[in-house]
């Protein structure tokens, strides 16, 4: 799949045109920065963007952009399984069912576990320069702790929200899973929130060997819960943007057009696994 080149326009009230690309050499205008003491973060909002496309955008921004980004994708149209970088299909998936029902499987560029995402999943991603947040060490646990403090503002007074090991929970029921990637100069922290989910889809996932202690060997349906039981979609997204705005100066990007670029230097590692790979994994028990 070709890499995405995006032509992005700020909202009308900004009255400014920007072009972002990584390496194709097309024109880039450097925006004026308004110094009010907060670091600038570009906010991109999508609805129903395919998850592979979202991950490609994120991976490219992490590797090639020097700016801070927040990406919110309100649902993804097609149910898709997304494994972490080291995920082993035979350990994590009911491969026979996955192949029978032709459920797409992606290996993403960040660490962490396996999820099955669909229109009921809301994605929130932060991509930051290491200096963006004062006093934050660019390691997994401090970044996780920082993110939970942001979401504590979103869920203040709602449910019994906290970060439990590396999951967002109400009580001891998980509704948000996290994953990260840390480079020399930047990091990404992205979350998939279970605003709603289809019970039938959970049948494609095995109980993972590596599970948090608080899971206590519970099956999927006893372990997870739905964010919709606590908050509407629009309220969650609005409050998330509001919380991010307490630490960053947010600037909205509207994605105008997407063009496939056949010749760029960056190739994302995130990709679909082929049927052949899944079949081979099933045979080899990997």
């Amino acid at each position: 799949m070709g890499i995405l080149c995006c032509v992005c326009f700020l909202q009308e009230e900004e009255k400014e045109t920007r072009t972002w690309n990584s390496s194709s050499g097309s024109k880039m205008l450097i925006p004026q920065t308004r110094n009010i003491g907060l670091p600038i973060m570009n906010l991109m909002r999508f609805k129903g963007l395919p998850i592979l496309q979202q991950l490609h955008i994120e991976e490219q921004l992490l590797r090639t952009s020097s700016e801070n980004w927040c990406i919110i994708n309100d649902g993804t149209n097609d149910p898709t399984i997304v494994m972490g970088v080291s995920g082993k299909p035979a350990e994590l998936l009911e491969i026979e069912s996955v192949l029978r029902d032709q459920v797409p499987v992606i290996r993403r560029f960040t660490g962490g576990g396996t999820v099955i995402v669909d229109p009921g999943t809301i994605f929130v991603t932060y991509i930051c320069n290491k200096e963006a947040i004062p006093d934050l060490q660019p390691y997994p646990r401090p970044i996780m702790s920082w993110s939970s403090s942001l979401y504590s503002k979103v869920f203040q007074g709602i449910g019994d929200f906290h970060l439990r090991e590396n999951d967002y929970v109400f009580g001891n029921h998980k509704f948000g899973g996290n994953a990260q990637s840390i480079t020399k100069t930047k990091w990404i922290h992205h979350t998939s929130f279970l605003w709603d989910f289809d019970v039938r889809n959970m049948a494609y996932l095995k109980l993972p060997k590596r599970a948090p202690a608080y899971r206590s060997a519970r099956g999927h349906l006893d372990f997870i819960c739905r964010l919709k039981d606590y908050m509407s979609r629009s309220t969650f997204i609005d409050k998330t943007v509001e919380a991010a705005g307490t630490q960053f100066l947010l600037r909205s990007f509207e994605l105008e057009t997407i063009e496939n670029c056949s010749e760029t230097e960056f190739r994302p590692s995130t990709r679909f696994l082929t049927n052949e790979e899944l079949e081979a994994a099933a045979v080899a028990g990997q």
Partner: protein, 161 residues
């Protein structure tokens, strides 16, 4: 988890050490830094012996990353460039790039790490080595930190956060 980082930086500042107590949330307070190695600001170490340089990540790095569950390494025969990534480690929910402190040709890769990634935590300077390289520019080693400089670097980094 922020408590671990605070405790580590405070103990380092006070030059204290404490025994690790797995049943508490506090980690070891004192990261090991070995004499005779060279260190990069991105927390990799180099051991130069004759025409071969061995590279891995430091005790400070493995402690801050947490339990390593997966290691991505290049193939022998490839090359590395100073300051550029050559692989990654996965810990907790994160992949973290590992950068080469020097340039050169990869002559050996630690294949034990595919089955035992935790060697990086248990033995970051010995059994947890990652790649062996034939340096192409030995003078690059001179720009790296020695043990005392790196110890101070880690203390300052932890104290500032």
């Amino acid at each position: 988890m922020a408590l671990r980082i605070w405790a580590s930086s405070t103990a380092n500042a006070l030059k204290l050490s404490c025994a690790s107590k797995p049943h508490l949330s506090l980690s070891r307070c004192f990261s090991t830094v070995l004499d005779g190695l060279k260190y990069a600001e991105s927390h990799e170490w180099v051991k130069h012996e004759g025409s071969v340089a061995t590279i891995g990540i430091t005790d400070h790095a493995q402690d801050h990353l947490g339990e390593v569950v997966f290691v991505e390494l290049p193939e022998p025969g490839g090359s590395v460039s100073k300051g550029k990534g050559f692989g990654a480690v996965e810990s907790v929910k994160a992949t973290s790039d590992v950068n080469s402190p020097i340039s050169g040709e990869i002559i050996e890769v630690n294949t034990k790490l595919s089955e035992a990634p935790g060697l990086i935590n248990k033995s970051p300077y010995e059994d947890g080595w990652m790649i062996k390289v034939k340096p192409s520019s030995p003078t690059e080693l001179e720009s790296l930190m020695g043990s005392k400089e790196y110890t101070k670097f880690c203390e300052e980094e932890d104290a500032s956060h």
